[in-house]
């Protein structure tokens, strides 16, 4: 009797433990979580950090495409003056799902000239039903700082443009601020263009648009400056980028 009870008891324990072990990945593992997808890290990323600052959310080329129905692939194209390491980051301009894609591993190292990268939408983008027009993309040539060096990105799925006519730079401030911006060409002291951004509110993204149809190829510098309204702390964000007006494959 004792042997029979022990045997049954042991079997029951093993069964319950097995259920728990099998069940744990289903309950606690999530396919949409931020994780390594082979050639990139992508998913929903929850980690707490905060600060009063200005942040570059997107440096992209003005190019519109219809994203409905959602294509199977998203594509990026950007120009590099030399072969360097690039850190690509994709996130929502106004976070709703906290989608993030970064730590991209290209099939070949990034080259001088135009580079491409594409990734599947079915892993994360499709299940989240993301609005593609609200995604911000930054390709950084160096770590985040007050002076950013970026390669503006063409975000598309079907056909890239043949020429670049404008750029969108999206920012966000960590506190209510009064801002203005100017774009300088090369080492010129006189801005190519300047304007007032007025009052920008904490957490609300805003876009600086530059119509580059009349601009020559070359290095440019976007400066966004101003001050926080609560403590008059100065804001000064510089974004260096290279304008390559003609796109070659």
């Amino acid at each position: 009797m004792l042997l029979f009870v022990n045997h049954n008891f042991i079997r029951t324990v093993i069964f319950v433990v097995s259920l728990f072990v099998m069940h744990t990945p289903i309950v606690y593992g999530d396919e949409l979580d931020y994780q390594n997808r082979g050639d990139r890290w992508e998913g929903i990323k929850p980690q707490p950090v905060s600060g009063q600052d200005i942040e570059l959310l997107s440096a992209s080329v003005d190019h519109s495409e219809n994203w409905k129905p959602l294509p199977s692939n998203c594509k990026l194209k950007f120009y590099l003056q030399s072969a360097v390491d690039i850190d690509i980051e994709v996130q929502e301009l106004r976070p709703k799902h906290f989608y993030k894609m970064d730590r991209v591993i290209p099939k070949t190292t990034w080259q001088r000239g135009f580079n491409d990268f594409q990734w599947l939408t079915h892993d994360v983008i499709a299940p989240l039903n993301l609005k593609m027009t609200t995604l911000g993309i930054v390709a950084r040539l160096a770590a985040r700082s007050d002076t950013e060096h970026v390669a503006p990105v063409i975000f598309y799925h079907a056909t890239p443009p043949t020429a670049i006519n404008g750029y969108l730079f999206a920012f966000k401030v960590g506190g209510n601020a009064k801002l203005k911006y100017a774009i300088y060409q090369g080492k010129h002291q006189t801005p190519f263009i300047k304007d007032n951004l007025g009052r920008q509110y904490v957490g609300e993204p805003f876009v600086v648009y530059w119509d580059s149809r009349k601009a020559q190829a070359g290095a440019y510098e976007l400066i966004v400056d101003g001050y926080f309204l609560n403590n008059f702390k100065p804001i000064h964000q510089v974004v260096h980028f290279y304008h390559q007006p003609l796109i070659k494959e």
Binding site: V49, D62, Q91, K100, L168, N176, R199, V202, F206, V207
Partner: protein
């Protein structure tokens, strides 16, 4: 004679030396056996009492659906509407900014004559177009009133209050429509006095227009400014007087979800901020139960479809939003400090709480019964064991008798 006496005394000593340890051992063994028997029987009775009482204790200590009223002071709240709602709380503002809108329209006057209605739309949603309205009379504390806000059932509304400029606070209203909804958000404003329109990345009646222009007055036939949201969203930021209380939502607002924290993305990382600064939970049906207060905490209401928002008010004193919720807490209501998520507290009452707090008589009766029931079960256990033993003894004696006879 002496020899036989010595021999007899030697024998008696020897016998005594043999018998005493044996008798002591026998006594000791008997004592141990009896203690063991008593111990086993006591444990058996204890197990019997525990098995009998445990379901009752479990039933008494399980949290039950409880009617509560929660008063919370927050910086941010979001909820999902249980029904299509028109907000008509007449919120005064000094300036207003609109984002994620489909169209803004109004009919300006020029020298008493109504001009054509102006339609302002965003050029391209990728440019994040904005439109701001500001009074041209700087001393005016408010020049506009958010007269009406129409939202659909299932829409998620997020309200936030943040410090603004000077004597104003920034009230944020974000509407996120249910994807299946056919009703787009609509805001109607009324104004007094001349105002300035400032646009970014917008176009007016399909043509380029100065990004900033002034409006003296609006047509008397159509004095309102109408802002139509995009199919799925509309965002409004109102600069409101910091020193005036005002209601924001209608009373008895039915909701299905409630969030008392907000997340944002900062430098690629998600920031989760607790919105509750302080709160109090009162038990409407049990006036004898003291309300429970808590400080800045994470608060979870679970599924909120059994709750109604009685009011959301801007409180000038605390520069916060005050929320009053009423409803039946079917799911767990918990508060915990952000850094100690495992140290939480449940706020629903248990049956034991409700019985104890019902009246003095029931409280005393309940306490007495809690003692008597286990004692009775224990006594029943002892009697049962004794009867079984007696029956065993009877059987043993009967068996012996039968053996003798045989």
């Amino acid at each position: 004679m002496d020899n036989s006496k010595a021999i007899r005394s030697k024998k008696s000593i020897g016998t005594w030396l043999r018998i005493v340890p044996a008798k002591t051992g026998h006594l000791f063994t008997s004592l141990v056996k009896n203690v063991f028997k008593i111990g086993v029987q006591s444990i058996a009775i204890l197990i019997l009492v525990v098995i009998t009482i445990a379901p009752l204790v479990y039933w008494l200590t399980m949290p039950i659906p409880t009617k509560i009223q929660a008063d919370l002071m927050v910086d941010h709240v979001s909820f999902r509407l249980g029904a299509t709602t028109d907000f008509r709380q007449a919120i005064k503002f000094h300036s207003a900014t609109f984002r994620e809108f489909e169209q803004v329209q109004f009919t300006p006057l020029n020298q008493g004559e109504a001009l054509n209605t102006v339609h302002i739309t965003g050029k391209n949603e990728r440019l994040l177009p904005t439109l701001s309205l500001t009074t041209l009379m700087p001393d005016t504390t408010h020049f506009g009133v958010l007269h009406k806000l129409t939202t659909a059932k299932g829409a998620k509304i997020a309200l936030s209050i943040k410090p603004g400029e000077g004597a104003y606070q920034a009230l944020g209203i974000a509407i996120e429509n249910d994807p299946n909804s056919l009703t787009t958000p609509l805001a109607i404003l009324q104004h007094r006095g001349a105002f300035q329109v400032k646009t970014r990345h917008c176009q007016i009646d399909g043509i380029e227009y100065p990004t900033t222009f002034e409006v003296g007055d609006l047509s008397r036939r159509n004095p309102a400014i109408a802002i139509t949201g995009q199919t799925d969203t509309l965002r409004i930021m109102l600069s409101v007087p910091a020193n005036q209380d005002f209601d924001i939502v209608p009373s008895g607002l039915s909701i299905t979800d409630l969030d008392l924290f907000w997340d944002e993305m900062v430098k690629g990382q998600r920031v989760v901020t607790t919105a509750v600064k302080q709160g109090e939970i009162s038990y409407l049906t049990y006036s004898n139960v003291e309300p429970v207060s808590f400080g800045a905490s994470k608060v979870s209401f679970g599924k909120a479809d059994t709750f109604k928002i009685e009011k959301i008010t801007y409180d000038a004193n605390s520069k916060s939003l005050k929320i009053r919720l009423n409803g039946l807490a079917k799911n767990s209501i918990r508060t915990y400090l952000p850094d100690f998520p495992d140290n939480d507290r449940e706020y629903r009452l248990t049956r034991a709480d409700t019985i104890a707090k019902a009246s003095k008589f029931s409280q005393v009766m309940f306490d007495i019964l809690l003692w008597i029931i286990p004692i009775i079960i224990g006594v029943v256990g002892i009697v049962a064991i004794t009867r079984i033993k007696l029956s065993d003894d009877d059987l043993t004696r009967l068996a012996k008798k039968l053996n003798k006879q045989n």
